[in-house]
Amino acid sequence: MKQIICCIALWCVAAAAYACDVCGGAAGGQGLGILPMYYRNFAGLQYQYRSFNSLQEQVDENQSPRQSREYYNTVQVWGRVHVSKRVQLFAFLPYQFNRRSVGSTVYNYNGAGDVSVWANATVLKTEDDCDCNWRHMLVAGGGLKAPTGKYASHANDKADILNIMPGTGTWDFALNANYTLRYRKAGINTEASYTLTTADAESYKYGNKLTAALRGFYALQYGQFTILPQAGLRSDYSLHDYDNYKRKWLNEQSGGYILYATAGAQAYYGRVGLQLSYNKPVAQHYGGGNVKALQFADAGLFFLF
């Protein structure tokens, strides 16, 4: 039973790496996934891949838009420590390998991403010693993203490059509420996370983001080996960006929503866990319809201690 709980915890927290600290153009929101009765610290390494097709309108609207494709690759070191029985801290240290191709021209933007720190507190929880078939847990908290990532000035235009740079140049704050309900080995998790963005030094402000998800999971145990398949839906919604927040220059060609169908699994053995997931956009309207999410997948390895 402990292994199953552990496994669920790992898989759930793995969802935290869905965080996309760079793709303002990708409606990248932040979520913590399912957070059941986890009780151990861990450190992990995760890889995340996202791709998009973009149509960049020409200055003259009568001309055909330019087409580009963006690839976001994130390698992230992350982990969790308990600071008390009810409070856990998470830290995320990403490194980005981003690429944009326009025709035969390829632009690479590599570098450290923005560091995030999260704190979650357990608000409701079925007692550990309860011999219950039904168990639930409500966790709420928040986080802070610091502008530590590689970031370039965009004072002389280059708004195009904002979404592809490894860092955002902004301090962002997040609120998160997360509920997990389990019946024996099966369960559902639902969560909502809201990211409050601030403006960068040049007054550009990404739109605030809302991420919501609903997932079902089932724990299969074979001796010490546990597999946790999961499937569900995830939605990312983003408000419009501001080209200049002080002057309220709203960029109405930014923001929008992407709805993903998600499927994945986590395998867990001893103190090691492996997590894989794939997300397929099933509905979207982003960047005024000019940005299309294509692929979103991630894989992670975790070590408990």
Binding site: V59, E61, A177, D243, K248, L250, E252
Partner: protein
């Protein structure tokens, strides 16, 4: 249970407020207030084959501009000899470009700079005429 419902209502209310309508600058498009100062080339200036024609201009406006298009044309035939465009989201910016004069016949040239005020087709234009003499 009542407490949980209250928490949920408060949470959704907070999200609703945070996601409410966004404030924006509603300044109406006023093309007449776009100022385009072209410092080079100067009207009537004569260039020779092999010269670089430096195109320098400053643009300003009372609110956000969205970019500019630039075309250097043969005034008589309308043939475009050089063109460029750039998205610029600012109320003031500079244009610095260059074109190498390779013309082998005397040509009347026209430089057109069009600034885009918004994405609804509002724009403002400046023109400069000059000559190329091989």
């Amino acid at each position: 249970m009542k407490q949980h419902i209250q928490i949920a209502i408060i949470a959704f209310s907070i999200i609703g407020v945070l996601s409410a309508c966004q404030k924006k600058d509603d300044t109406p498009a006023q093309p007449a207030k776009v100022v385009i100062n072209v410092s080079s080339p100067v009207s009537g200036q004569l260039y020779r084959k092999g010269d670089s024609v430096y195109i320098n201009a400053s643009v300003s406006y009372i609110s956000e501009l969205h970019g500019y298009e630039l075309q250097l044309k043969n005034k008589n035939t309308g043939t475009v000899l050089y063109a460029s465009d750039e998205h610029v989201h600012s109320d003031a910016f500079a244009i610095k470009e260059a074109w190498l004069d390779t013309l082998s016949t005397a040509t009347d040239l026209q430089l057109e700079i069009t600034t885009e005020i918004d994405h609804e087709g509002n724009s403002s234009q400046a023109e400069i005429e000059f000559k190329s003499q091989p």
